[in-house]
């Protein structure tokens, strides 16, 4: 999974590959089949939220981390747990609290005796050393602890003392946060937010979905999920997704979208100039392109279309737009600004 974390260190241009000779490579049909199987397993535990599951899957295939935002009780944790169950991956959950220390998640060196009775420091890995990490209520941890995730999320490694240890591959962080409860929380800093591939807003279920949730979860039985994909298969899917061709004008469209989020650019629409303090970073554009590639494959295409960019731009960019006070005062959120941006680019 070394090609996932370093977004910005890997080029986005398609590299011709011989799928038959690549170790652990898969065919596009297998890609689609695996994705469908994963989504089917998720559907067993999740009622509704199909789009949410699709986006999470896109982030995983794209090699990125996901920040799930939603009020309590919407199934964020269930989603992550179900995902872990559907994949042959190690899963760890960390409930972030204000007193959580960095070492609590990265691990620490402890004194231990060997068989000969000699004492020495031995590194005890923390919950980070897993394939799928659920960072529940991540905004409740202190910035110090939150920052401990930076290296792990960006470089898939952990440095403690003078030793740097790689994390298992693949490594995904799915963090959750409550948007309405600010007491005793520490909002994620911009650098931290930028490390997330997607920020997904978990919607409230429709009435019918609520009924189904009640029917499924209030009985004696629970849905049993089976793992349908392994870590190597997930990595192969990620490699295949990065081979999806992108035409030059599609790249240009993605660039225009990102540029239009910057209020100091002439291409920026009025909403951006008025409500945005800082626009999306180049890492945001990378996320858009990679996610669009995955989406194209999931839809059975071998090229990225404009509507792929349009579909993935909100989850990939909404947490990368930093709105100003006027936006807060006017009740304008990032999604509204992004809608204006996409409309502006579409019209140009």
């Amino acid at each position: 999974m070394s090609d996932i974390a370093p977004l910005g260190t890997h080029g986005d241009s398609p590299r011709p590959v011989d799928l038959d000779n690549q170790p652990g490579s898969i065919e596009p049909d297998r890609f689609v089949a695996l994705a469908a199987a994963i989504e089917a397993e998720l559907a067993k535990a999740m009622v509704g939220q199909a789009e949410l599951g699709r986006l999470v899957l896109m982030a995983l295939v794209g090699g990125g981390h996901v920040l799930l935002e939603g009020v309590p009780g919407l199934g964020k944790t269930v989603l992550v747990r179900s995902l872990a169950s559907a994949l042959h991956l190690n899963f760890a959950r960390v409930q972030f609290t204000p007193d959580l220390m960095p070492g609590d998640i990265t691990g620490s060196s402890i004194v231990s005796e060997d068989e000969a009775g000699r004492r020495r420091f031995e590194f005890q890995p923390g919950p980070l050393f897993t394939n799928l990490l659920l960072a529940d209520e991540i905004n409740r941890a202190t910035p110090k602890t939150q920052s401990a995730l930076l290296e792990a999320m960006a470089e898939h490694q952990v440095t403690t003392g003078d030793a740097t240890r790689p994390l298992p591959s693949p490594f995904f962080v799915l963090a959750t946060q409550n948007p309405i409860e600010h007491e005793g929380t520490y909002p994620l800093p911009e650098a931290q937010l930028d490390r997330f591939f997607f920020k997904l807003v978990v919607p409230f279920p429709e009435p019918g979905e609520l009924v189904e949730i009640a029917r499924r979860t209030t009985g004696v039985g629970a849905a049993a999920l089976s793992p349908v994909a392994t870590g190597p298969e997930l990595e192969a899917m990620a490699r295949l997704a990065r081979e999806v061709p992108v035409a030059s004008h599609v790249y240009e469209r993605a660039a225009r979208i990102v540029i239009a989020t910057h209020p100091d650019r002439p291409e920026a629409p009025e909403e951006v100039r008025r409500y945005v303090r800082f626009g999306a970073s180049p890492r945001g554009m990378q996320a858009v392109v990679v996610a669009a590639r995955v989406r194209a494959l999931l839809e059975g295409r071998y090229n990225v279309a404009f509507d792929d960019l349009t579909a993935v731009a909100p989850p990939a960019l909404r947490h990368r737009l930093f709105l100003n006070f006027e936006a807060d005062a006017a009740g304008v959120d990032a999604d509204r600004v992004l809608a204006a941006v996409l409309a502006s680019v579409e019209a140009s």
Binding site: P16, N303, D307
Partner: protein, 612 residues
């Protein structure tokens, strides 16, 4: 284009229209070629219009290389392209604005095409006029060629002048910008022909005949005199009678003429004349009247020439015989030559040579000069035959010119319509002048309009006066004369004007009456034609002009008393008040080229004479 055609008409219009369409197509093709979309643009458009979701453009970029998913992508793009429905592109909304502009342009063009194009009509008329003038020029050229050919071998300066006049007329007709100018040029040529022919016309023949008669009275010159008289009398005149009979013969009645011709051929002394007469008889018998006419004309010409040659030979012989004459005979001959010279006054050249011969013969030692003078007279006599031919050719040429003029005038008549009216009224011995004025006025209308004055209700005025005013004579004014002439003139360049003049006149004893005339100036040129501006000067329909009786003859009737009634002046405006304007207007009209020279002279004489 239609707008341009209204300013600068072109015909046939389809040529520039086709050229414009071709140019437009060419520009469109060139523009399309220059603006043709690249493959990438086509791919992008197809992706957008057909919902290709960037398949084609991506495949186009990947066509330069790639593998793995690139190959799959290209295959996917090809499969999609095969299943795409291009009709979706054509179903896109029409460019209404461009379509509206195009429809409006077409409608405007069609509308303008339905609106009559006056400029085009004028162009067509001008071209028709030009074609008419060109045809006239060709006809004149043909006449000139015939005249030149007819004079081959016996060419005289006058024949050369005649041909030159015709050639000049031909060139003038080709260069004439309008029919009016062409008619003017033809009129000048006709005047030139008259000036050319008149000195050696019928008067010349008569003069030669008279001179011959004088010479025939003297024994020494009897032969020369008879021959000269015969040449002057033109022996071909008899043949001319047969020519007239041949021309007037009914379709089945040419046999009698043929018989006469055959008999004349038998009697003809000159072999070439006899040959032509036989030919004419054969043609007449065969019913080919035109060929017979031509042969008869040729026979007449040769007969005249033979007579002239014989007269020339006799005069030459007389000159050679002078040394053998006695002094008395010489004196008698000198006297005869002198009388012949006087008799040949109408033929100045002949008169001069005969006078020279008489003078030389009367003086001693001038025998050689007398012989030379007679030889010169022989040359003049020889030219009498050619002169007869020249008259015929000139008349033929004049007829041709007149027919061309008539055609040009007739063409111009259709271009407009107008009307004019004039009348004159007079009393006393000057009464006929009213008619004169009426005729002149009508004639003016004719001139202005270029039409012909036709006497419709002649009462006492001879038709000749109504038709040809220049020939008006001084009023006899003896007795009572009364005449009315009404001469509507029709035609005109751009204006079909009609003039009408009426002039009752009363005449009684010479100088005892007063003349008055009243003429209503016609409102000429109220033409509806496009060229109405060329019509006669539009006059006020109610304008009245007083013109004094200036001439003309009415039918006279003697009155018992020497004094007549006072002439009634029905005028409203004194003549003196309008005469200057009338004179200036009339003289201005004379400056128009259209007016024949003889009519100009008539008007100038009228206003410059005693009538002022």
């Amino acid at each position: 284009m239609q707008v341009v055609f209204r300013r600068w008409p072109v015909e046939p219009a389809w040529v520039p229209m086709l050229a414009m369409v071709a140019a437009a197509v060419l520009v469109a093709v060139a523009g399309s070629w220059r603006a043709r979309p690249s493959m990438a643009e086509v791919a992008r458009l197809a992706d957008v219009r057909l919902g290709g979701r960037e398949r084609l453009f991506t495949a186009l970029e990947l066509a330069q290389g790639g593998g793995g998913l690139s190959l799959l992508q290209q295959a996917d793009a090809e499969a999609w392209a095969a299943s795409a429905d291009p009709r979706q592109v054509s179903r896109r909304r029409l460019p209404r604005r461009a379509l509206g502009i195009a429809v409006a342009g077409i409608a405007l063009t069609a509308g303008l095409a339905l609106v009559p194009n006056g400029a085009l009509d004028r162009l067509r008329a001008a071209r028709a006029d030009e074609a008419l003038r060109e045809a006239g020029a060709e006809e004149i050229a043909s006449i000139a060629t015939e005249v030149a050919r007819a004079g081959a071998g016996s060419e005289t300066p006058k024949r050369r002048a005649l041909v030159r006049e015709l050639r000049t007329a031909e060139m003038a007709l080709r260069a004439a910008p309008t029919n009016a100018a062409a008619v003017a040029a033809l009129s000048r040529t006709q005047a030139g022909l008259r000036a050319l022919v008149q000195p050696t016309g019928t008067g010349a023949g008569d003069a030669a005949a008279a001179a011959g008669d004088q010479l025939a009275r003297t024994a020494a010159s009897e032969g020369a005199g008879k021959a000269l008289a015969a040449a002057g009398a033109s022996s071909g005149a008899g043949l001319g009678q047969m020519t007239a009979e041949l021309a007037s013969a009914e379709p089945g009645g040419s046999a009698a003429v043929a018989s006469q011709l055959a008999q004349a051929a038998e009697e003809a002394a000159d072999p070439s004349v006899a040959e032509q007469l036989r030919k004419a008889a054969e043609e007449a018998a065969a019913g080919r009247s035109e060929a017979a006419q031509a042969a008869l004309d040729e026979a007449e010409r040769r007969a005249d020439q033979a007579d002239a040659d014989r007269a020339a030979e006799e005069l030459s012989s007389l000159g050679r015989s002078l040394p053998g004459l006695s002094a008395a005979e010489q004196a008698e001959l000198a006297e005869a030559l002198s009388k012949a010279s006087v008799a040949a006054g109408a033929q100045p050249e002949l008169a001069q040579t005969l006078a020279n011969a008489a003078t030389a013969l009367a003086e001693e030692g001038q025998m050689g000069e007398a012989a030379a003078a007679l030889e010169a007279a022989a040359g003049v006599a020889r030219g009498l035959g050619a002169a007869g031919d020249l008259d015929t050719d000139a008349a033929r040429a004049n007829d041709g010119l007149q027919s061309i003029k008539d055609a040009l005038l007739a063409k111009s008549e259709g271009a407009g319509a107008g009307s004019g009216q004039g009348c004159g009224e007079g009393q006393a011995d000057e009464s006929a002048s009213a008619m004169d004025h009426a005729g002149r006025h009508g004639l003016n209308r004719d001139v202005f309009g270029g039409g012909a004055s036709v006497q419709t209700t002649p009462r006492s005025l001879p038709q000749r006066q109504a038709e040809a005013c220049p020939e008006f004579e001084s009023p006899s004014g003896d007795g009572l004369g009364q005449g009315v002439t009404v001469g509507p003139g029709a035609g005109g360049f751009g204006s079909q004007g009609s003039g009408e003049g009426g002039g009752p006149g009363q005449a009684q004893g010479p100088g005892s009456g007063q003349g008055g005339a009243e003429g209503h100036r016609g409102g000429g040129g109220i033409g509806g034609g496009a060229e109405g501006r060329l019509a006669g000067r539009p006059g006020a329909p109610t304008e009245r002009v007083y013109v004094p009786g200036g001439g003309g003859t009415g039918r006279s009737q003697a009155l018992p008393s020497g004094t007549g009634d006072q002439g009634a002046d029905a005028s409203l405006v004194p003549y003196e008040q309008v005469y200057a304007e009338y004179r200036a207007d009339a003289l201005t009209q004379t400056d128009r080229q259209l007016m024949p020279e003889r009519l100009r002279g008539l008007l100038r004489d009228y206003f410059d004479g005693d009538n002022q």
